[in-house]
Symmetry: C2
Subunit: 431 residues, 2 copies
């Protein structure tokens, strides 16, 4: 039987999962693809560490270049994460004529242009199915399954940690701190969950989804990013009363000739499919012009889901290699109808906002006056129960309003003597 | 640029969609796959019919064999539906060395073994993405994206018409007849919706999903099939009170060494992702051993969604052809842990059932006695408001019970003098 040799750089959690699957499913895979996938070498900086899979010690090396420079290796699987030395390893592997599989969303988000260009020049592929939504085959779906489609928007719940936290806050009525503590206890959050909570991880994944759906790699600094640390139990409860669920969404959306790319907490109508995605699950919701509205749902993290995706990439590459020629990656071509990125100030959204005011006559009139001045029209107003004497939260939902107008109005409102706390504004989607 | 020639047999609704996409997206596709897809001939028995896409008249033929026998044609796209002559056309095309794309679930469900065998012998592929879930790339997901996975179950809402009817009955509290009438009015049901309503169309699709996930083509007669015509507004309402939503599910599930394959109305917990799939949408929910629980959601029918899937198959075949050799279809291999199909009598389920009884002392005792006799234990009992004097519906939910026991009990219950209407039993899933 034909053999394809692979080298794995990074023998951590996902790396161990890949080794497990490739050995446990050896015959299944061989039957399906008529190819034996041979692990020729595994590199890790810590070879002494105990792992949940055992391998022939002769396969192990501490030097990644033993893999990169091995002419017998066809595919390099990079699973160490982080920017460097992962980037150097991948570039070196491409230069040595190897295909690459990686799960490294941060690297691809920050240096994708350079890496994909190098791969194209070398006639090699970089596959990265595990980098978004773990085992959900979303990348293959966009690239191949929906190959003829153009996209209007792609909206994802792509960070399990923050979705778990918001779900706990919503379903168990607990505080943000409490939810984070639970997430850590259950292993759903890292010791330092900053990247997840602040929306950076979601933004990394959004860069990749935007690339696939719209054909361009946007820079992280061009993405409007807002995390979930400011979402309060009160806002979740008020949103629920209004028929909404708060989710951290990663959004890429065509608006006329511009593309909006943003990550922020969002009120979704509670009956929206994405609003039902709970806990550490991820989902990607696509609006395509031919296949319509689609959603792909599954666990967004975990050793075996991620390793399942890595193995599917390896299998695809064995097929590419079998073809004996460069098989185009079917990466999306630039959507030329898009002229540029929309600036945050120009975003238009409906808004939920909550104002904490002194309960006395005339306050609402002042607020309404300011809103009117900024051309903001209100869909609903709810004055809530007093928090303490004379302090009441007022919850409003607006019609579509430009971000800059909303910001201007809130700034002016927050300067009123009657306002006792910074006002909160959260965007509404999907209505 | 390299060219791949295709011939389309069947210039109806989906066929026109395929022609539209291939002409409208010609340059997009050419860019992505570095191949020009050329429509060399289109066959239909009615060439005079007005269509929503215009083509060069010289391409049209009334004779399918002008396509099948044309040595320049690489791919035959069969879109006429039905068993014959579609089967003859596909077999003839394979014998002539052509790859085949089809959306014909009925044909594949009934003659898949013969067709796939012929394709394998000829070193050709039959692709059929459009046959389940229209534009949802579910077949590619199972075959390729989840290539290393084994499956415990695959549960689908795969018939838009019946899902629309059940959704209307659930959300609008309307009757079955009323919902069907609305579905016809909106074009969501055929004039004669029997195949949809009776679960036959779902069963056809289940054959294909079972083949992909478990590697075997089950015969339609081995599938337990129950349609939705017996689902009443009352059962939908009572189910809702109990926290369930009724859906027509197509289920293939491993139970020990046996496989259960069935289509029937089912109570799902209302918070289950599948319970949220409304209207003409379809969704396929997979339990895989590596990637976990996944769901794929989208429109289950329609010209462009189906044509989007057909085009993705054509694109995949252009890649296969480029490889210059037979690229294995990655069709699932037999799951050898499965020893046989489970007989319906041996199915084990929780059950909802509704009994219509005379409201007098001792009736419940008699019923409970019969249930106990058959070893059926009850999770909940609710006596509903009287329908008319002395007649009350009693709704029960059981713990897990074998189908044969439930049937035996119901038969005996229905013979009681106090029972005034045939009892209704509906299976419960996902709890």
């Amino acid at each position: 039987m034909r053999k394809v040799n692979i080298g794995i750089i990074g023998f951590g959690n996902i790396g161990s999962g890949v080794v497990k699957i490739l050995s446990g499913r050896k015959s299944l895979l061989a039957q399906k693809i008529e190819t034996e996938i041979v692990i020729k070498k595994i590199c890790d900086k810590d070879l002494a560490k105990k792992r949940d899979v055992s391998v022939d010690k002769a396969l192990l090396t501490g030097d990644a270049y033993e893999i990169i420079n091995d002419p017998a290796i066809d595919i390099v699987v990079e699973l160490i994460g982080g920017i460097n030395p992962a980037k150097d390893f991948i570039l070196a592997a491409l230069k040595k004529g190897k295909h690459v599989v990686t799960a490294n969303k941060a690297l691809l988000a920050e240096h994708g242009n350079e890496l994909f260009l190098e791969a194209a020049e070398r006639g090699k592929n970089i596959y990265f199915e595990a980098s978004v939504g773990a085992g959900i085959p979303i990348i293959k779906a966009i690239k191949e399954g929906l190959v003829a489609n153009k996209f209007d928007s792609i909206i994802g719940i792509v960070n399990g940690t923050s979705n778990y936290v918001l779900t706990q806050m919503t379903k168990e009525d607990c505080s943000f701190d409490n939810a984070i503590a639970q997430a850590k206890l259950k292993g759903f959050a890292e010791k330092d969950p900053t990247l997840d909570i602040q929306g950076i991880d979601s933004a990394h994944k959004l860069v990749l989804l935007t690339y696939l759906a719209f054909g361009r790699i946007v820079s992280l600094k061009d993405i409007y990013i807002e995390g979930i640390a400011q979402v309060s139990a009160a806002d979740i409860a008020y949103a629920k009363e209004l028929g909404y669920t708060i989710k951290l969404l990663a959004i890429a959306k065509k608006e006329g000739e511009e593309l909006e790319v943003r990550v922020h907490p969002t009120l979704l109508p509670s009956e929206h499919m994405l609003a039902e995605v709970d806990g550490v699950f991820n989902a990607i919701y696509l609006s395509s012009d031919l296949a319509g509205e689609l959603m792909f749902y599954g666990p967004g993290a975990g050793q075996l889901p991620a390793a399942s995706a890595v193995v599917s990439d390896i299998v695809d590459l064995t097929q590419d290699i079998k073809a004996g020629l460069f098989r185009p990656t079917l990466n999306s071509r630039d959507d030329t109808s898009i002229k540029g990125l929309r600036k945050i100030e120009e975003f238009e959204n409906k808004y939920y906002f909550r104002i904490t005011a002194v309960d006395k006559p005339g306050v609402l009139a002042k607020i309404s006056g300011i809103l009117a001045k900024f051309g903001i029209s209100i869909a609903s107003v709810n004055q809530k129960e007093k928090l303490k004497s004379h302090i009441v939260p007022v919850v409003m939902v607006t019609h579509e309003v430009k971000e800059k107008n909303l910001r201007g109005a809130l700034k002016m409102i927050d300067r009123l003597a009657e306002i006792k706390d910074k006002s909160v504004a959260i965007r509404i989607e999907g209505v």
